[in-house]
Symmetry: C2
Subunit: 415 residues, 2 copies
């Protein structure tokens, strides 16, 4: 079965926000075997919304709409749904109570008339309870297609998806299983990889789709398929993936799971009851920031230092000035010393360090823009490597962070 | 004139990547007066691509397509363009030379046949030179609508937009001016704001559109309009914005410009030749990371410390243990001491500190999840505030980072 996601809001079309709602919804739908056929972003405009609903009705079995449900005048989704479904508004007591409770418990003032109006819902709608906000979700049907309307606030939309929408889809529709498995590789370009695996790719069964996803120094190779028999599906994809993995064993570093590399690092550290610190020069706190996004990070992550100015590497961290003078601040020697001193300063078992030139100018270093040295110090050894990540600041930082996580996971898993 | 953006790639529809290309393209088009009417994301599927091109042809004047131009078999955009335009491939000498140069200079190996095939382009296409990759852009026309095809790699797409696509659109189309101005407010919800400004909003001329954008503790209010006369357009929007700003002066903190709050902090520091450090506990490096994304940050940003474990606040930073014992680790007193000690440790004039409970569990603090204290220490004074940012780790961190930047900019601008 097929779904379409429609995200409504001028802010998307003028590039003022990034539409992350459709990423979340796509992932959740995939998990329950619903294929997202199209994502459509449109303006807060009556005619445009009506056209988009009509077009989607012809393409898919279920349409998930986000946005345009706020209490202010620029939000017109509910009004337009009324028109599309030829319906009228009725007051919903449960929603009214929810609005009053939210205002009493969290907002600390009386709801305004515009807030209370959010309890007016289309009479044909099945109301979906929004735990985190005043705008309810709506589930409506027309010409055998289901239309779901949810608020655009990501937090509220996520709650509605998890508690209301997904369970209802699971109950209503027969769905196949969809299965993706993605191999992470580094060190070769996509055309080189294709050349290496071309015989296997040509012989790949037509129901299994291969995709190449190059990004910031890595190529991800995804196999995707769907089947009503989950066991057969997974066996078919896994066995092809095993062949692919074997062919690419020199450049493969593992699979991309639901869990990110950060959460795999988290699991590995928790499993060995170990601790981590970071010292980031050119990555400027991004590694620490991504580590601490994970709940429970405080049980293994002790802290980080960002010695952006060279002198601070010596003053606070205690890096040997002679090493910097001998090898330059961007060197594997300095990176290694930074990582080792970080374990000392923070009293940790593992540490990762970065020192490099993100650009666009070279600062006080001798090397070219894009040069980054990364080291990981563990209880038994220190490893380091020097890279050139090319140009543009954003890409250099992004590639350095990816590489640092790869090296760190490898060392933690090894020791 | 109207544009549609079509992003092609299964990875978008399964939620494996966030489509940031359409954000960039939307912004760039807005700047030159092109309204983005719709963004459509579709699968790497021949029929689907053909349908999307056909539908877009009826809706808009120009269609910008990204994705599906790689050298591997899963990329079918060029082939499908051939079919849609009833065209055939011809070799383009300049593209062939570009491919050879890129391989010789950057890749360090000979191009494979699949790489060289990227020099085959539709005969009716005007080829757009890709400085950063081997897949050229294409500019084609059908039924008076322009179709532009660009690679999906953000870096390559950006180069093509800037160097090739935007100049050609500017030359070919008559465009009005589009103007957005966004006021940043904090402390009141969107319905309260609407209630405060309702008379003014009702009297707003119909050609000026007001949008409410609530997010992580802030509401942004955007006025948008377009006109062929740039001066009249800006005067009309600016004068309405002045009225709005005056009405909301107690909660307004300024305008959202092209420049982010981070770059405004950067400018303010450069202007006074001042320096900055950060000490982040609950925000875990995110503030430093966003500061160092800006090129040239090293001239004012000296460094940061992430004393995630409480003890480190004393050991490395020198926070007085008695203050922690007396007020708890999440307190304005500790935040203030952290910020002052940070200026000492990093030898800076300004410092911002965060200490709080991002959740989901409380750790070693007494306060509720979501409690965050933020302090800014400058040459003349220290300011601090205690917040409750509610629940979910992601939101607490996000709101704390936003608030820290607001407080920091205010202090730097004041002193």
């Amino acid at each position: 079965m097929r779904a379409e996601i429609i995200t409504i809001g001028d802010e998307i079309l003028i590039g003022q926000i990034v539409d992350t709602n459709s990423v979340f919804i796509s992932k959740e739908l995939n998990k329950i075997g619903v294929q997202v056929y199209q994502i459509t972003s449109i303006q807060d405009d009556r005619v445009h919304i009506l056209n988009a609903l009509k077009d989607a009705n012809e393409r898919v079995d279920i349409v998930l709409v986000t946005g345009g449900l706020g209490p202010t005048k620029d939000d017109i989704t509910k009004k337009t749904f009324l028109e599309y479904f030829e319906d009228k508004l009725v007051e919903n007591k449960a929603v009214l109570q929810n609005i009053k409770t939210i205002f009493a418990d969290y907002v600390g003032r009386k709801p305004l008339p515009s807030n209370l109006e959010q309890a007016q819902v289309p009479s044909k709608a099945k109301v979906l309870n929004n735990l985190y906000g005043t705008a309810p979700g709506m589930w409506m049907e027309k010409n055998k297609t289901v239309f779901v309307s949810m608020p655009g606030v990501p937090f509220e939309m996520k709650g509605l998806m998890e508690n209301e929408v997904i369970p209802r889809i699971v109950e209503k529709f027969n769905r196949p299983f969809i299965y993706h498995k993605t191999l992470l590789t580094y060190g070769k370009g996509e055309s080189q990889i294709e050349d290496l695996i071309k015989e296997w790719e040509t012989a790949l069964p037509s129901e299994i789709k291969l995709a190449y996803l190059p990004s910031l120094g890595r190529v991800r190779l995804r196999l995707s398929s769907s089947n009503t028999d989950e066991l057969l599906l997974k066996q078919a994809v896994d066995s092809q993936m095993d062949v692919l993995h074997t062919m690419l064993k020199d450049i493969a570093i593992g699979y991309e799971d639901e869990s990110t590399i950060q959460s795999r690092i988290s699991e590995a550290l928790l499993k060995k009851n170990s601790t981590l610190s970071v010292v980031e020069s050119c990555t400027g706190g991004r590694i620490a920031s991504e580590i601490t996004e994970i709940a429970g990070a405080s049980s293994y992550f002790k802290g980080g230092l960002i010695p952006y100015a060279t002198q601070l590497k010596c003053d606070i961290l205690g890096v040997d000035k002679a090493i910097i003078d001998a090898y330059s601040v961007v060197s594997v020697e300095v990176a290694e010393d930074m990582a080792m001193k970080s374990n000392k300063l923070f009293n940790t078992e593992f540490s990762v360090s970065t020192t490099g030139i993100a650009g666009p100018t070279k600062g006080d270093a001798h090397d070219e823009v894009g040069t980054v040295c990364i080291a990981v110090a563990g209880p038994e050894r220190v490893v380091s490597e020097k890279f050139n990540f090319g140009n543009t600041r954003e890409r250099v930082i992004g590639k350095a962070v990816n590489k640092a996580f790869e090296m760190l996971l490898k060392e933690i898993s090894k020791n």
